[in-house]
Amino acid sequence: MNRINKKLAENKKLLSIYFTAGYPDLNDTVKIIQDLEKSGVDMIEIGLPFSDPLADGPTIQESSTAALKNGMTTKLLFEQLKDIRKTVSIPLIIMGYFNPMMQYGVEAFCAKCQEIGIDGLIIPDLPVAEYHEHYQETFKKYGLSNIFLITPQTSDERIKFIDSVSDGFIYMVSSASTTGAKNTFGDEQQHYFERIAALDLINPQIVGFGISNKETFTQATKTAKGAIIGSAFIKHLTHNGVETVNEFVKTIR
């Protein structure tokens, strides 16, 4: 059982945090990860920045652009993370777009992830069918969970298919939108959360996109196993600096 599945088996609602590697400063990556774990975060999505992040709203677009400007690359991220398992034990997931992984070489990328102790990948623009046909064996070979997204528009039938090829959790996109912080969820989201809960899926669900504070975290985790906060955390770093990771986490729970 890998770290993700172990964590999912714990009897609690999980808080997962996304941040963009290389932002605010190039060498903040390791410190942010360590501080997030110390603050009690359950899981971390390390964002591999991309020049053209289609599924992201302005906050993550800007942090990605800044990280690339700072000099972040795939190689450098792996270099920064090489000793991460000496100090950090919670699940670590790399979230990024497929093109930089392709250029690194998908197999080499997966091998490096295993060597470092990365537990899973979230690749928004690698569709289920492509993964299933071309990459699933490679991911499995290196012990990586691949996390798929579902949205309010995803049909029940497709959700069940995604559930059947998933390993770990399902990333439940809260609403029809790009990433970005929201202050509250309306009835539409609540109905969607309930509809998914009623499907009784094999894999637990973790909600992302639009989670920004205690209220949205609580709403999202009423039915789901956990929630992911990205843009709101990045905004916090932008305004308050990397020394204040703990302060942010405390506002959520």
């Binding site: 289609l54 795939t74 392709m102």
Partner: protein
């Protein structure tokens, strides 16, 4: 060797649909229905009627006598510049607006670089009374003021893309993000033979009217359907795809693609994707694209805003890789000279994109008896300011 898209959306190694799950329902709806919609007699009737009465098709296939004498070969120009709105782009927007209507969509989004596709989209939206939002890079909005004004006059809202390099690539990103945020009522009219499957094939089919007409027009003029060469400029590659389409499986027809070399292929300021690109993913498809060794997409350069795109349609990547297409790259200077030459030999001022195709005679020697058909994809009115600055007119 097949040059048609396969059932999984690939041209050989290129194509596919690398899209976030948020776009899946829309793209899947399109994938499962576009061929069926296009086959319906009522659709065909309306499409053909509009092409005839509204766009002004068939566009002439014009024997360019003086240009032919100059280059000692037989040159025909396929006059897409004479279409309503001044370029080939409208063939596709007419088709896609009818598809959108069929799917019950009541809001249209589009991306545009130079503004030609934006104008063609705003035009068909006005024609059908459908709301239209066009994304355009902030920098392009400043460079292409007349086309921005045309879109506004046609009732479209032009939204500036302020992310990244603020040009066509970023306008496309913004349009995709809009579609993610408006998944139910909106159809995205992509303007080139790019994007996730089925877009490259759908756009190619709508543009294939170009080669369909070339065949019967050439039969009338020369007593044969097949030219020796078809030549087109390539940015994303929609006019090229339409110009080649009915000749792809005719091995006697040479396929020539002309890319923008900008200030020179190795100058660092170029848009010659087949020469500088590597296989990767851009805007939902696997294709050749200009990128860093780390997989970050780079900003191309060309004097022509319509060729200023870091990728190329997956069909063209396939034509390049298999050797079916012969690829050339033409610098800004050579393109501008070719545009001036056509103006003064034939009385036709071409779009600067098209001028790249017209510069083929510098690089390729044709035989006197060869029949060479060049796609005259657009007219030069929109580029007058660039011509004025360049030639100090």
């Amino acid at each position: 060797m097949s040059y048609q898209v396969d059932e999984k959306g690939y041209y050989g190694d290129f194509g596919g649909a690398f899209i976030p799950e948020m776009l899946y329902p829309n793209v899947e709806e399109l994938r499962t229905s576009y061929l069926q919609i296009m086959e319906e007699p009522s659709f065909k009737k309306e499409f053909n009627q509009l092409l005839k009465d509204y766009v002004g098709r068939p566009s002439p296939l014009y024997f360019a006598k003086r240009l032919s004498e100059k280059h000692n070969t037989k040159v025909y120009l396929k006059r897409e510049d004479l279409n309503h709105t001044g370029a080939h782009k409208v063939n596709n927007t007419i088709g896609q607006i009818l598809v959108a209507k069929h799917l019950g969509k009541n809001r249209i989004i589009a991306e545009t670089g130079a503004g030609q596709h934006g104008v063609a989209t705003a035009t068909v939206c006005a024609l059908m009374g459908i709301q239209c939002v066009v994304y355009m890079g902030e920098i392009d909005i400043k460079r292409q003021a007349p086309n921005v004004a045309r879109m506004k006059m046609l009732g479209a809202e032009v939204r500036p893309a302020k992310s990244g390099s603020k040009t066509l690539k970023d306008a496309t990103n913004e349009a995709i993000r809009d579609w993610i945020n408006n998944p139910v009522d909106t159809h995205y009219i992509i303007g080139s033979a790019i994007g996730p499957h089925p877009y490259p094939d759908m756009v190619t089919r709508f543009q294939s009217i170009i080669s369909e007409e070339i065949k019967w027009q050439l039969k009338e003029k020369e007593g044969r359907e097949l030219p020796d060469y078809v030549v087109a400029c390539i940015g994303g590659g929609s006019n090229a795809a339409g110009t080649y389409y009915h000749f792809l499986d005719e091995p006697s027809v040479g396929i020539i693609a002309v890319e923008a070399a900008g200030k020179g292929v190795n100058s660092g300021e170029s848009a010659a994707t087949s020469q500088l690109g590597k296989e990767g993913i851009i805007h939902g498809c696997k294709t050749l694209l200009m990128q860093t060794s780390d997989g970050q997409i780079t900003e191309p350069y060309s004097i022509s805003a319509g060729l200023d795109y870091p990728g190329v349609g997956p069909l063209h990547s396939h034509l390049y890789k298999t050797g079916r297409g012969e690829f050339f790259s033409v610098t800004d200077d050579d393109a501008m000279a070719a545009g001036l030459e056509l103006s003064q030999l034939e009385g036709i001022i071409p779009a600067i994109e098209t001028s790249h195709a017209l510069a083929i005679f510098n690089d390729k020697q044709f035989k006197p008896e060869d029949i060479v058909v060049i796609s005259l994809s657009g007219r030069g009115d929109k580029d007058l300011n660039t011509y004025i600055d360049y030639f100090k007119l």
